[in-house]
Symmetry: C2
Subunit: 299 residues, 2 copies
C-alpha cells in the first residue's frame, strides 16, 4: 500500500484515538511502517514515532519524551554498534531542523503511566526540541531526541479540536476544524516549496553563499519574500521564496536587506548595494514579491 506522508493531524484520527495493532495505525495513515518506530526519511523528515518500550533509554514524562533513535541492534534487540544519523534518525533530525510536528503513538509495551493498557493510542503532536548522542553503560552511542507536546504548527493545541464546544472557542472566535485542515494543507504545500528551493540551491545561501555543514548534512532555511497570510497574502510558491542561511534570513526578514528589481542585495542601513542574489535557472523569482518586500522597508 502507498503511504502518503502527512505532517500534523490526520482527519478522522484525533488525539486519543485507539488502535488494536500497528497495521491499523498504518492503514489510518498515522505511521508508514508496521514494525519500525520511526516513520520518515532523511529527505522529508519524520512524521510519526511509536513508543512501545523498545529502548530502556527512553523516558516518558507525558508532555516531555526522551526518545532513543534506531539502529545498532542485533536481531535479538541487543545493542552491538553505535547509532548514526541516517535512516529514521536522520528523519527526526530533519524534523527538528524544519520544526515539523511529529505524531506520537504510544503502545502497551511501553512501561509508562501514559501508555495504554492494550493496543495503541495516538497521543497528539510533539516537536523535537533537540537531540544528542548518549554513551550507554555498554559503551555504545545512541541518538536521543527530546520531544515536547505541542499543538499544530501555529502553536495552537490540538486540544482545541477535541473540545470544540469550549466557551473560549466562541469567545475568541477560533474555528479549530477549519484551521487544522488549513494547517495540514499549508504544511503539505510548504514542505514541497521548502524542499525544492533548498535542493535547487544545494542549501547555499542566495545572499552570502554559505552552507551550514552539520553532522547530519548541509542545512539552510527558506524565507518568504512577500509575507504569507493577511494582510500581504503572499503565495507559498518557489517564486516567493529564497534559500538563505539563518543569519541572512534574520537580516532579510527584519529589513536589513532588500532586493532591487535586477535582484541585487541592498544593505538598507548603509544604503549600499552589496552583491547580486545567487540564482538558479529553475528558481524563477517573482519581481512583484521582491517589490512588495522592498516596500516594507523603503519609503
Amino acid at each position: 500500500m502507498g503511504y502518503i506522508r502527512t505532517f500534523g493531524e490526520i482527519d478522522g484520527h484525533p488525539p486519543g484515538s485507539k488502535y488494536r495493532n500497528r497495521r491499523e495505525i498504518q492503514h489510518a495513515g498515522l505511521h508508514a511502517h508496521n514494525q519500525r518506530g520511526i516513520s520518515g526519511t532523511a529527505r522529508e523528515g519524520a512524521d510519526a514515532i511509536v513508543l512501545n518500550g523498545g529502548y530502556p533509554d527512553d523516558q516518558d514524562e507525558g508532555d516531555i519524551i526522551i526518545y532513543t533513535g534506531e539502529g545498532g541492534q542485533s536481531a535479538e534487540k541487543k545493542q552491538i554498534a553505535d547509532q548514526v544519523i541516517e535512516g529514521g534518525n536522520a528523519a527526526l533530525v530533519k524534523s527538528h531542523l524544519e520544526g515539523l510536528p511529529v505524531r506520537v503513538i504510544r503502545g502497551h509495551g511501553e512501561k509508562s503511566k501514559y501508555a495504554p493498557r492494550q493496543g495503541y493510542e495516538y497521543s497528539g503532536l510533539y516537536r523535537i526540541q533537540r537531540y544528542w548522542f548518549k554513551k550507554r553503560e555498554d559503551g555504545f552511542q545512541v541518538l536521543q531526541f527530546r520531544l515536547t507536546f505541542v499543538g499544530d504548527a501555529d502553536g495552537i493545541s490540538h486540544l482545541i479540536q477535541l473540545d470544540e464546544g469550549a466557551t473560549p472557542e466562541f469567545e475568541f472566535g477560533h474555528r479549530p476544524v477549519e484551521r487544522t485542515s488549513m494547517l495540514t494543507e499549508r504544511l503539505k504545500r510548504r514542505l514541497s516549496v521548502v524542499r525544492n528551493v533548498k535542493e535547487w540551491h544545494d542549501n547555499r545561501c542566495q545572499i552570502c553563499g554559505t552552507t551550514l555543514m552539520l553532522p547530519s548534512g548541509p542545512a539552510s532555511q527558506v524565507a518568504h519574500i512577500q509575507g504569507l497570510g493577511i494582510p500581504h497574502n503572499g503565495p507559498d510558491i518557489e517564486a516567493n521564496a529564497l534559500c538563505l542561511c539563518p543569519n541572512d534570513h534574520v537580516l532579510f526578514d527584519n529589513g536589513a536587506y532588500y532586493l532591487t528589481d535586477d535582484l541585487k542585495v541592498v544593505d538598507a542601513i548603509k544604503g549600499s548595494t552589496l552583491r547580486p542574489l545567487r540564482t538558479h535557472k529553475r528558481h524563477l523569482i517573482g519581481l512583484n514579491f521582491v517589490r512588495q518586500h522592498r516596500s516594507y522597508w523603503t519609503k
Copy 2:
C-alpha cells in the same frame, strides 16, 4: 505604583477575564500603562498590548491580529509624521526577535466582533510573527505587527488552563496549572540571563565575532551549553549560556562545533580546532557545561 513586567500568563487573570477600565488592567499587572497601547521597553520587549480602535489600520481576525505601532500622531490622534522603531514599537520588535508572548487585551472601542461590548477583556497570549512598514494613503509610514494566537512559550494553548476538566488532560497527564507557573518562572529567569549575556558581549557572536545589524539595532541569540530540562537538566544561568549569531547557534546546537576545556572552538566534522571562544571578564563559563555539551558530540 511599580509595575513588574511579566511575560506570559498572570496568575489569577486567565484569558477571558473582564476589566472595567485601564486602571484595573494596570493593577492586575497585565499592562504597564493607563493609556498607551503598548506595554514594554526596547530593552525588555513588550509584554502586552491593548486593542481599542486607536488605528484604522488595525485588523482583528480573532486568532490573527494586524496591530499598528505607536507614534507620529498629533494630540488629536491625526497622523502627522512617520512612525519609527523606538519606544513601544522597538519593544514589539524585541518581543518578535526573542519570541516572547504578548498579552492581548481587547477594549470596547475596537470595531471587531472579538471586542467586548463594554470595558476590556484579556484575550490570551499572542506571538509577533513579523512586522513591516506600511505606507498609508496620507503618505505617512506606520509600523505594523502580525500577531497570531498561541499558547505559552512551549506552544501549549492556555485553553488547557481554561478547561482543566477536559478528558485529554487526564489521558495525557498534563498538569496545566503547574506548567503555566513553571513557564512564567522560566521566562522570568531566562530573560535576565539572555539580557546579561547579550549585553556583556554587545551582541557579538562568541564564535565568529559577527553582530547582526538590524534597522531596530544589533541582534544576537543566546544558546545554552548543557541542555535545559530532562534529561540533562542544565541550569538556566549565564555560565551555561553563549552569545551566538543564528548561524553559529545552529552549528553549536547540532554538533558541528564543540568546545575544548581551554574554550577553543572545534569543528567536529573536520576535527580541527578553529579559534578561541570570545570571552568577557564578567561572563564566566562553566567547564562542566562545556564538557557535557562535548559529550553529546564526541565518543
